[in-house]
């Protein structure tokens, strides 16, 4: 109780010093939201093209259109990630444990994946979830940083294999990251004083 009163006192003191309002989340930036939407359309269009292209030349990593897409898209995500990170510096997002419970070793998805027949997995053991890379950024920036990482991983797969498999899965993952990023932007907008 004493701790709660102290915390409340600190908040009130900060409010008094600040003069008007508290801030727990960074300021909303309309250009970040617009850039996320713009990038989303380009990535989905690209993945649709890759699905149609399949193993034809248009779907190969060596295609100039493919390389051009990755160059532009990763430049956009790098810029977005930088802007999202610097608007809320010095914070870390404590979501690792929760995600691990869902998708990590022994979680429900890994249990389901363990049912894939071993004979149907050329080239290696059954897919298993691994610990995610530690997020060293604020929660408000996590999804934008993830979008950048996802595009780079997708490009690395495309480059290594020559063509991009599982385009629908990539689209669903990118959709999830965009949806969560836009949810964050909507929350920041709604919290503006």
């Amino acid at each position: 109780m004493l701790r709660l009163l102290r915390s409340l006192g600190v908040v009130l003191l900060l409010v008094a010093v600040a003069g008007c309002a508290v801030r727990f989340v960074p300021a909303y930036d309309a250009t970040i939201e617009a850039d996320i939407n713009d990038l989303h359309k380009k990535v989905l269009a690209f993945l649709n093209k890759m699905q149609v292209a399949g193993r034809s030349d248009a779907g190969k990593y060596t295609s100039s259109a493919v390389k051009s897409f990755y160059t532009e898209a990763t430049a956009t995500t790098a810029n977005l990630a930088l802007r999202a990170t610097i608007r809320d510096t010095g914070k870390q997002c404590p979501t690792e444990t929760a995600a691990q419970l869902l998708f990590g070793a022994g979680g429900p998805l890994e249990a389901a994946l363990s049912r894939v027949p071993a004979t149907a997995q050329p080239g290696g053991p059954a897919p298993t979830a691994t610990t995610p890379t530690a997020q060293q950024v604020a929660c408000s920036a996590v999804n934008i940083v993830n979008m950048d990482a996802t595009l780079r991983r997708m490009e690395a797969q495309h480059r290594a294999n020559g063509r991009l498999a599982l385009t629908r899965s990539w689209a669903k993952i990118f959709n999830t990251e965009v949806r969560a990023a836009l949810f964050v932007e909507a929350q920041l907008k709604s919290a503006m004083p």
């Binding site: 508290v22 727990f24 994946l113 049912r115 298993t128 993952i173």
Partner: protein
């Protein structure tokens, strides 16, 4: 045995709901849609391996990416809680600002 989304999804959403606790109603729509998409992505990756469309390594990358995307959904939920707290505190301050400033005689709030 083939992967079945309907077998996986209730377990995944149940685990997310338990983890989210009291914040679940606030993030339910985002979480359910996202977890359905991520589970579907993993199921399709598994089917891709079975059909020969993809290698196990390619499917494994999808699983790892889905894990990271799930972390992002949880991060978004955290921001939702922080933003709600900011709205509540600032609304409370706004509600008493005029009365407090008038009583003190200076624009404290």
């Amino acid at each position: 045995m083939a992967l079945n989304l309907q077998d996986i999804l209730p377990t995944v959403i149940g685990a997310a709901q338990r983890e989210a606790g009291q914040t679940w109603p606030q993030i339910r729509t985002l979480a359910e849609t996202s977890l359905r998409d991520l589970s579907q992505a993993i199921v399709e990756a598994g089917e891709g391996v079975i059909s020969g469309e993809a290698t196990a390594d390619e499917a494994r990358v999808i699983v790892e990416e889905a894990l990271r995307a799930a972390t992002g959904v949880l991060a978004a939920a955290v921001v939702g809680g922080q933003a709600a707290a900011q709205r509540i505190v600032n609304a409370a301050i706004a509600a008493v600002r005029q009365a407090v400033n008038a009583a003190i005689g200076i624009p404290l709030l």
